[in-house]
Symmetry: C2
Subunit: 208 residues, 2 copies
DNA sequence: GTCTGAATAGAACGTTCGTTCTAGAAGGCG
DNA sequence: CGCCTTCTAGAACGAACGTTCTATTCAGAC
């Protein structure tokens, strides 16, 4: 024995984490904060470990690698996005109502998982194949859902567009862009922003 | 003298650059390509130098630092964006026509400087204060132009919105998002995409 | 009580990073 | 020609990076 205090924390003081989080949970939470603010390349594992005042060994113990940590965050959150969007459509048949429900569900998830969704939007960092592939896969599946719903609208004569794909990108644009500029602690409420976005998607500048 | 081939290239072969670009111009072009694809943090100066098969010393000779190279690209391109947008409005008085001209000008610049504008949109890389400040400054000035024009529309009773700021963000969303997904060499023409975007901004899903 | 495995610390490794330093080659000018 | 500035190469440096390794402590099973 040399010195220091390795091994489990002394039980009396809740050591590494704020609150009652386990080390693993604290790592996920802290990594999420850093990744969503500074991206994958912009965040070092020492940043994360130092913020929690623990050793970097913990990251390798729990997640194997830096990318494993990224994928673990994706796993418990963002990965479910396509399914959650599909679920919002289950009981609805009217095409316009379906799209409205889809957008609302998307905005709701955005509000509750702003940082997680920001992570997959910063795709210009290059992580190794598996990581970037997981990101792209989720984005593709979400895009496919929107295209499918818009195509139904178009065939029903409810919208007139030359290209549903461009339309889908435009809708995703306003939803995803909001992740960049909206501040939950700012002057605007999430409900207010969501209402404006929905209005813009369905009627553009001209309002309702 | 040891070996190798330092000094100016042998005049017969146009050495470092493809085509007739000077070393400085070739560096700007190559750096632009890397920065727009992989961001500031994701691009190393050795990436850039190796792609041109020259030494990293050139970057320090011409630009002083990695960030100086970034700022030089901004200087000769993106920095003029706010002015170019203002110029598009000079002869127009009708508020709706002004906004239309603004959007068209913005899309035109986007088409000719897609990579440059992408650079300032990847703001999640953290470069030192001066660099990130220049980025934010440009984005703020563009936002201010849109807000000013939308406010004029609102006061003229031509649009009904609860918040022109959100509206401005929504318009910037579709314009900037297009930088991410549009591929000039893809199946869609720029004109086609621009027309759809304008239609979406002014009328949303419902089309014209 | 002893053993085993999970959890943690801290040093160390090899690589890559941005940058600096030293020096050589070419061009312009007298 | 000789001189000075510009341009270029390449080695080297210190810091930071992701990762590995070794060692230690605690909790629980027996």
């Amino acid at each position: 024995m040399v010195s220091g205090r390795p091994g489990r924390p002394a039980a009396s003081v809740s050591y590494p984490a704020e609150d009652g989080l386990s080390s693993r949970e604290a790592l996920l939470e802290t990594a999420l904060q850093f990744f969503s603010e500074r991206g994958f390349k912009g965040t070092s594992i020492r940043d994360i470990a130092n913020a929690l005042e623990i050793s970097v060994s913990n990251i390798y113990h729990y997640f194997g690698s830096k990318e494993g940590l990224w994928l673990a965050i994706m796993e418990y959150s963002v990965k479910s996005l396509p399914l959650r969007l599909e679920n919002s459509l289950l009981a609805i048949t009217d095409p316009l109502e379906r799209l409205h429900a889809l957008v609302m569900a998307h905005l709701t998830v955005s509000a509750s998982q702003q940082r997680e969704l920001k992570m997959i939007m910063l795709d210009h960092d290059r992580m190794s194949a598996a990581g970037v592939q997981a990101n792209l896969d989720i984005q593709r599946r979400v895009l496919a859902i929107y295209i499918r719903e818009l195509e139904a609208l178009r065939q029903g004569g409810l919208i007139s567009t030359g290209n549903v794909r461009i339309l889908a990108f435009n809708i995703l644009a306003v939803i995803n862009w909001q992740l960049r500029w909206f501040r939950p602690d700012g002057p605007l409420s999430a409900a207010e922003v969501h209402a404006e976005i929905v209005k813009f998607i369905f009627h553009g500048l001209s309002g309702k």
